[in-house]
Symmetry: C3
Subunit: 147 residues, 3 copies
């Protein structure tokens, strides 16, 4: 992904497009099992929190480790996951951060089986622009079945 070195302003078409492209690439990395590259899409001190988890996961190493365990489990069961992030609402900018709220769906397909919706969630991100690219500084995933 080619991005400008300067972060574009909120409300700008550049910001919206960059976030869409960033989300697409980020989730394709996770669904392809490339967990080290996935972890690099967070800041070094990035936080992954979820209402389904007792504690947030903090930092790239921990984020890669947890994702790797989940990927291994899915691989063993031969289930392909696909994360869809959409309905992206860029809400506000504060300091150097952009706050976006979107919906996230997880679809799963067992090998030789039928695809289905696994979960419907909301995704609330604090994004920062470092070294010419967007990174998640804080992500909160809220599963709809748990609210």
């Amino acid at each position: 992904m080619t991005v400008t070195q300067e972060a574009p302003a909120i409300g700008s078409v550049e910001l919206y497009q960059q976030v869409q492209q960033y989300y697409a690439r980020q989730m394709q990395l996770l669904d392809s099992g490339r967990v080290e590259e996935w972890a690099q899409t967070f800041t070094a001190d990035g936080v992954f929190a979820a209402n389904a988890h007792p504690e947030p996961t903090v930092g790239r190493e921990a984020i890669a480790k947890v994702a790797g365990q989940v990927v291994a489990d899915y691989n063993e069961r031969r289930i392909q996951r696909r994360h869809w992030l959409g309905m992206v609402n860029i809400e506000r900018q504060e300091g150097g951060s952009v706050f976006a709220r979107c919906y996230a769906l997880v679809f799963e397909t067992p090998h030789g089986g039928q695809a289905y919706v696994k979960a419907s969630t909301t995704c609330e991100d604090e994004l920062v622009h470092e070294g010419g690219e967007w990174l998640v500084k804080h992500r909160l995933i809220t599963r709809d079945d748990l609210i």
Copy 2:
């Protein structure tokens, strides 16, 4: 959402991005039960028509009232709805209006239960630009199971 005061031209990247951002915000308002704000995303004389309804709903007050009844019903049953509008095709501009046709999916998740696809529909909008923002002047929702 920051938008320019002038409506961008059809085919422009600004128009496409603004419609995407507008749809995301609009449907997040509805799914959050903020029905008064949802109604404000229509023009004062906005029309909400659907092949599932005998009569269209006309005007912000009526739109808010109907949405409020549906939200109350969902809340009572503890089901979280999520509307996804996507595959946005901006078709043409006529007078001051932009005509867009997109797909809309409704996902539902019961509290403690499993997410599922509730309905697949098409959404045909006439959008107008008033006071620096996009508003629906006429929306037609066509449920795929009724065609």
Copy 3:
């Protein structure tokens, strides 16, 4: 769709928006059964390959014919298909081609019945810019249940 005559550069917001709009229009044509227009969204020598098909379909005539047979079958069974292409990751440009990888979901709704996810797939496209519009030169659809 109004597009500029020159293909926009990779990483540009114009390219991303044009591909999104192109995908929306393209899949709406297929889902509406307009198979001749659908075939025109491929290059004259366009290739449609899929891990579910023994051989790729090559050229507009063949692409229209195959699509027409599938549409006739769906019409007879009174099932409405909807193709959602999303999570668009524009990966690279090489020569005059743009390479994009996205996710594609198929939703189906039987007349009078319940909508469901039919299939989850990835879509890998080589796109070229001819006569002021984007066309698929090569598409590979990989169904998640067959990998």
